[in-house]
Amino acid sequence: MSAVRSESTPVLNARNLSLGFGRTTVLTDVDLTLHPQEFTAVVGTSGVGKSTLLRALTGLIAPHDGEVTIPARRADASRAWSMVFQAPRLFPWRRVRANVELGLEGLGLSRAERRRRAMEPLALVGLEEYAGRWPHTLSGGQQQRVGIARALAVRPQVLFMDEPFSALDAITRRRLQQELVELRRRTEAAIVFVTHDIEEAVSLADRVMVLGGQDTGHPAGVIDTVEVGLPLDGRRDHPAFSALVQRVEEMIA
């Protein structure tokens, strides 16, 4: 499978990335290449720089050093990338559906098309009936799901997800994890998925990028990138699953 992948052109390429704020460097020497349909999980302790990494990969902040290439927007009504933010950050002055439509504006879609494209992912996250609500009338987890729908609506080539399921109950989380597995099969999108839940990372991803190794005055880096290599179906019950989870856990500890 990896042979097939290396033949296709990558959708994202980051070389030697080094990032931080002002004079402090948070994370150094990150290399990352993503191909269509690849699912990369990023794990690491709180404050290691996972969210900052996503911002740098998308160009929301400029890296201190290194290069990122991300594809241009295609001619169809989609976007090169989109992001599920760690805090949902819905626009409180827009109703739920209008929030999901945000990324669809400026893509040359008609009103009706925009509406349809927004309702689809809302149904996927189980919030169809909430389309007409104001965000503040939603629970934290529901708001987070709207944030997921907003990112899916633009059919990105690279989908960045920053701890998207951390605010959800175990049942909803498992259901959305399942949906994400389904989504991978249906779309070309490459996914970068930040989580602090190592089981979640190993159960969903093709590979897990482990960040860490920071020390006083010494920025964090990539400890290792673990190829999962287990079939997606019934992965959690695979005999090698828990050993892999444990291996990643030990890297971080």
């Binding site: 998308t58 929301l60 927007r73 976007r79 989109s82 992001m83 933010f85 805090a87 950050r89 626009f91 409180p92 002055w93 827009r94 109703r95 945000l102 990324g103 504006e105 400026g106 893509l107 104001w134 965000p135 503040h136 907003r150 633009v154």
Partner: protein, 253 residues
Amino acid sequence: MTTLSRPRRVLYSALGVGVFLVLWELTLRSGLLPGTLVPLPSAIPGVLWLELSDGIWFEVVGSSLAHYSVGLLVGSVLGILVGVSAALLPRFDAAHAWLARLLRPIPPLAWIPFAIIWFGVTPTAAAFIISIGVFWINYFASYSAVRSVDPGYDEVARAFGQHGFLPRLAKVNLPAASPGILGGLRAGLGQGWMTVVAAELFGIPGIGQRMMEASSLLATDIVVVYMLTIAALYALLDFVFMLFQRRMLRWQP
């Protein structure tokens, strides 16, 4: 402090006004105060009726409202325009900061000499004076409202392809700042109305001029009629605007 139920509050408020009016009437009738200083409250409705049936009331209120609405419109539009621009354009902000600090403390009425020199004793002069106070209120309110918009919203907008200055102005800055901007508009509505009378004192037809006329004839009852008119019109305007404000901000918790 214990709170009263709503009907009880209304009851006590009405009682307060009633007692005040009765005491006022009694002080005059008992000869404790000479009738030349203040009119009898019981005489006011009759005087109001005279002013109304003469058509004088409609004439002076009409011209005051005309000065007021022109001054309000010009002051609000310019105030918001300059305030929002200053908040978003650092060069413009820096370029005009000292000028604004210099001009701000000058009270609207101090502009009367210039108003007369520039516009003569005309309705335009009154509108100009009114617009000054309204301008500053809207300028500061919209400036600080836009400055305090959570930059996180802007990041979301950029993440979803809304890059241009105008899309972000329309989709993020203005709606996010709208509570503050509307608050400024409402304060300006009051401030402008307060300056109407003063702006007309030097001979521009309107409520102010009518009051000066009446006072030179010691017609205190007419003065009181217009004082009450000013209060009632303000209450009405403020109420209508409050409804508009509430509708615009119905997305707020």
